[in-house]
Structures are given as structure tokens and as C-alpha cells.
Symmetry: C2
Subunit: 125 residues, 2 copies
């Protein structure tokens, strides 16, 4: 993958933000006019292909992206994601991996565990 201005800027944002970001979230953080909005969609998808970011489908159907902690050869993201209804953020709860056991013959390829409610920050205010 080529090292472009858009890629650098977007990866930097993903890596320095502690909440999952949608395309429009990323756009809001990018310098005005750095790149086209379609490019953001494409770069984010490429970062997923490169195992540098992972996708989360929020409860409202919007796709959010967050950096990968340690995915080299393949993605592994069974951790929980929390969507705060008040501040409307989605955060990776890396420490929590829900356990479950499917009946026989189900082949699991991908997991999207999303819990929504009120986050500690909003709770305290």
C-alpha cells in the first residue's frame, strides 16, 4: 500500500483517538479539504485490509473504525464495544471478551458485540 497524505493523516487520527470513528468523524478531525470524503471511506477500508484498523457496526447501523492493538496476520476482535447513548461515542473495551458457545456446526467468522447505555464519564456528570 502506498504512503499517501490521506493515509498518513487518517492513520494518525485512528491511532491517537481512544474512541471508534466513523467516516464523518474522521472527516471532522481532518484539516479542511485534505482529501475527498470518498477517499476517507477507501483509506479506512484499506487500513482494515492491512490489519491496522477494525470495523464495528454501531447499534444505529453506522460503521465505526478503531485501531488494532496487535493484529498482524489476521484480525481478532472478540472484545466488547460500548456505545454511550448520551455522548454518542463507541469505545473498544479490549479487556472484556464475552464468552459464548454456539451449538454444533456453526462456523464463526466475525463477531460484533455491542452494548449500549451510559458510559462512566456521562454517568458522573
Amino acid at each position: 500500500m502506498r504512503n499517501t497524505v490521506a493515509r498518513d493523516a487518517i492513520l494518525e487520527i485512528i491511532n491517537t483517538t481512544d474512541e471508534a470513528l466513523s467516516q464523518s468523524d474522521v472527516q471532522a478531525k481532518l484539516p479542511e479539504g485534505l482529501c475527498n470524503r470518498v477517499t476517507i471511506y477507501r483509506v479506512l477500508d484499506r487500513l482494515v485490509d492491512e490489519h491496522l484498523a477494525h470495523k464495528i457496526t454501531n447499534i444505529d447501523g453506522v460503521i465505526k473504525y478503531a485501531n488494532c492493538q496487535s493484529c498482524t496476520t489476521k484480525h481478532k476482535h472478540n472484545h466488547l464495544h460500548f456505545n454511550c447513548e448520551r455522548c454518542n461515542t463507541v469505545t473498544c473495551i479490549e479487556a472484556v471478551e464475552p464468552s459464548f458457545k454456539l451449538p454444533a456446526n456453526y462456523e464463526v467468522k466475525n463477531v460484533n458485540f455491542l452494548v449500549s447505555g451510559i458510559c462512566p464519564e456521562c454517568k458522573g456528570n
Copy 2:
């Protein structure tokens, strides 16, 4: 809630289908022209309000609806949902409730556990 033709038909479909349905899935099962597509959206939402159906956000962001087994005063749906990538269905796995424990001060209001992969039917074929 009033007893309308659309409500009756849609509730019947939801209750006799063993997979979660989107608005367009419901529309495809309804007799041509029985009601407007907007009505389907509105009826489905009303069924959720009445605790007769629950919502699931699929991995692709599309909202699906399935009947409630036993929700009277409030919804309780911590069970797993499985999305088959091959036959593109979403099914309630009522028997499986993933266990997890959030750090302190998170208030959970809603849960959306979605696992995607290959279902037993598709696996066998």
C-alpha cells in the same frame, strides 16, 4: 394500539418466520400492495413498543426484527444473533446468552450481540 390490516398481516409474518426480517424482507412476504412501505416501518416500530418484536442491527447495518418470546412489561434480549454470510439470514439463538462483565459505572441499557459466519444448513450443502 389499533387492530389494522397491516398490523395483523405483519405480526403474523413476524410470528411465523423463524428468522429476523428487515422492512424489505417483510414487504417481500406481504401480498403485493397490502400497504405502503412506510407503514411497514411504522408497524414494526410499534410492535417493538408493544413488546411483540425486538430489533437487531445486522453486521451490514440493516435493522432486522424478530418476535419476542416472552417480553411483557419490558424487553429482555441478551441472546445471540447469528448472521449467515451465505444465505444472508439472521436468526435468534435464544439458547445462547453470552456472559460478560463490564468495569464499574457502565450502565447497560441495550445489547446487540451479533456473530456472523456460516450456518449449519449452509454448512451441510
